[in-house]
Symmetry: none
Subunit: 125 residues, 4 copies
Amino acid sequence: MKIDPRSHVPIYLQIADGIREAVAAGIYSPGESLPSLRVLALDVQVNPNTVQRAYDELARDGLIYSRRGKGLFVAEQGKANALERARKTVRRLFDQGVQAGHSAGMDANDIRAVFQASMSAKEKQ
Amino acid sequence: MKIDPRSHVPIYLQIADGIREAVAAGIYSPGESLPSLRVLALDVQVNPNTVQRAYDELARDGLIYSRRGKGLFVAEQGKANALERARKTVRRLFDQGVQAGHSAGMDANDIRAVFQASMSAKEKQ
Amino acid sequence: MKIDPRSHVPIYLQIADGIREAVAAGIYSPGESLPSLRVLALDVQVNPNTVQRAYDELARDGLIYSRRGKGLFVAEQGKANALERARKTVRRLFDQGVQAGHSAGMDANDIRAVFQASMSAKEKQ
Amino acid sequence: MKIDPRSHVPIYLQIADGIREAVAAGIYSPGESLPSLRVLALDVQVNPNTVQRAYDELARDGLIYSRRGKGLFVAEQGKANALERARKTVRRLFDQGVQAGHSAGMDANDIRAVFQASMSAKEKQ
DNA sequence: GTGGTCTAGACCACA
DNA sequence: GTGGTCTAGACCACG
């Protein structure tokens, strides 16, 4: 997982989003255990409190749950849940972009062109 | 201009973005004067200092300039500047959306479908 | 005289400085009359109050004096006065530049090089 | 850092310039943390908001960056950035001085003499 | 009237 | 503890 400590997006959210995406993409499956607080904290080089906050966020969403003394696990509905949420995130970002372009006087074709450029850039990666 | 005081986006940025879009869309033209600090503050129901910070942001970007005792004016290159910036904002949002979808395991068609939905929703407004 | 309404330097100071330099350079001589408020205001396209403030500034410095009903005149010591002041202004600007360069870790040769560049640029005009 | 509250240069700019020079001179190095808002505010005897505005200025220039909850840090390109900017500041001041002298009828030798005096005065400090 | 700076003090998010 | 935002209200410079 890539963490950018200079980003204005809080680190705990970057971590939570990274895990959400990993679950949605099937990298972690329902029932499977997640990296422990300390392991993940070492991995991404942040304070364990920060990782804790990320896991709290995910638990509140019902994406993961903890079993005392056993660790953290992906919930049964975790993957569907994460996918649904990812789709909403994408939709929200697109809505914002479309709205911003529209407000600035761009027409539908202008906006579509920008989207195509964005898709092409991604495919070339 | 619509301001959402509960948004996580700072009010001063919401105001700055609103003006930027207005300039990009030609609502305010180069050389024209903008609403005074106090007038806009009353209009959007915030403290004049907050409006000033928004105008400050725009002045630093070269979108507007101030003449003490006279008021605030749209810079000559203001419209081009704002359009350019709006385009970049749209592109950044789309890039983020595409990236988020991709990370969550959505394929290009999934992502395109979400974009289409977003465009359709906008057109229906 | 060139006035830049977008400059952060107040217009009345730009006008006062312009006249000071003109007197120092001998464009206006002691005993000679200066353009009237209204004429100068029309010339540089500003409010007569602003020109008045510039003339006030100059009168306080003893560079010019007014004769009621007759107009404004350059004082006897005006040219020497203005030259002395110009020299001080130049010295102050150079002192600031030298100080700024020094504080930023530039050595004497670095600073001299910048000065030479500045002189060369002026000569080429 | 020396702050002159009676100067016409706003306090926040005096602070920003002081930090810029310190970075250019290598007193603070890339990656290193800067004094916290509150500490610096106590140090220079001004309101923390004023210090924040200074840091804001520097962050917008890319000289420093902030990490909420952690502190303020010198950017990787901070030193080069600051040096470049310092050079421009020196050049601007010299240009202004040369221009002022020229407008007042001083010739190149007069102007050079003032510069030499300025350099000598600095060396004697 | 205009914009610009500064203070005091509040509250929030983050680590 | 850190930085970030906002308000209220003061005072100044300018035109």
